[in-house]
Symmetry: C2
Subunit: 168 residues, 2 copies
Amino acid sequence: MTIGRALDTDPIEEARRQWVAHGWGEAADGMAAVTSIARAHQIVLQRIDTVLRPLDLTFARYEILTLLSFTRQGSLPMTKMGALLQVHPTSVTSAVDRLEGQGLVERLPHPSDRRAVLASITSEGRARALAATHALNGQVFEQLGITEHQISQLRTVLRALRANAGDF
Amino acid sequence: MTIGRALDTDPIEEARRQWVAHGWGEAADGMAAVTSIARAHQIVLQRIDTVLRPLDLTFARYEILTLLSFTRQGSLPMTKMGALLQVHPTSVTSAVDRLEGQGLVERLPHPSDRRAVLASITSEGRARALAATHALNGQVFEQLGITEHQISQLRTVLRALRANAGDF
DNA sequence: GCCAAGAACATTGATATCCTAATATCTGTC
DNA sequence: GACAGATATTAGGATATCAATGTTCTTGGC
């Protein structure tokens, strides 16, 4: 389950020291920041997967289910979901394939655009999404192990990074 | 190349509002933080992949190559690399498979432990790692689009999260 | 000291995801 | 009516995880 045993020193700080020692000091902090993001992503995703496994969901499928549950009609065009969740169209297709096979979502023809496909959440899908949200709230989102102030800082800094990348 | 068109509102803030509206205010900030990490990871990884593609490397393989180049002998046991890079043994195996096929790394028997395998960087591997590092430093790590102070905050907060997860 | 039981190391196979590239269909405009 | 653009899908390559396997090492009872 756990990937690596606890190390005596922070491996990212160690890499940063190597950067400085090689004369790449200008990039050292940025390298450490990027590596930290990658590792943090791995950590939280592992926790999420552990919580969602009993519910037969992955994070990608959970996001789609929850997004649909927030809409009035309970349905959205595939492209629209990809734009809101910022994932590739192919990822939406395969995730909806899976959700449809589980009976949590169904594909409907778009009423006015014959190219488009609507993904529509089923009542079973709604129930599953709600159960998953409660589990994730209690076991992951409220248990990050950092202070509220740090969570706030994290959101602010990453919002700047996302805005700079052209997200919104 | 780009995944989604620029949106008028931050989708993560939008999700956070939904959380509050549903009475899940306790978990809203944590949810927003986790989602921000996931999106930030996607953004930086995409940039890294773009820079590394002409060099025929991925980030996973680049990390292994760079780690090996930092050692005295230029070689490490597979397990040791997995521990330092915090990835699964299977990931190390498949990455070294590819690097070996590219002639950037070779497998050697461990001198004292017949179970273990040493991955050893070749001179071509060293050259490739150096070129990749220069490209990443200039085009990614020094161009994150956030201030030095924000980079520092990010490192501090994520170090706390990683420490809490038992990384070191 | 010897040997059996358990642990560690690396690999393979299976499954899921994301990304790229290419394709078929449909829309809307010039 | 032709043609560029949008929509969704398929196919292929890469990575990560889990589960299971075959070796080899290490340790603890005797």
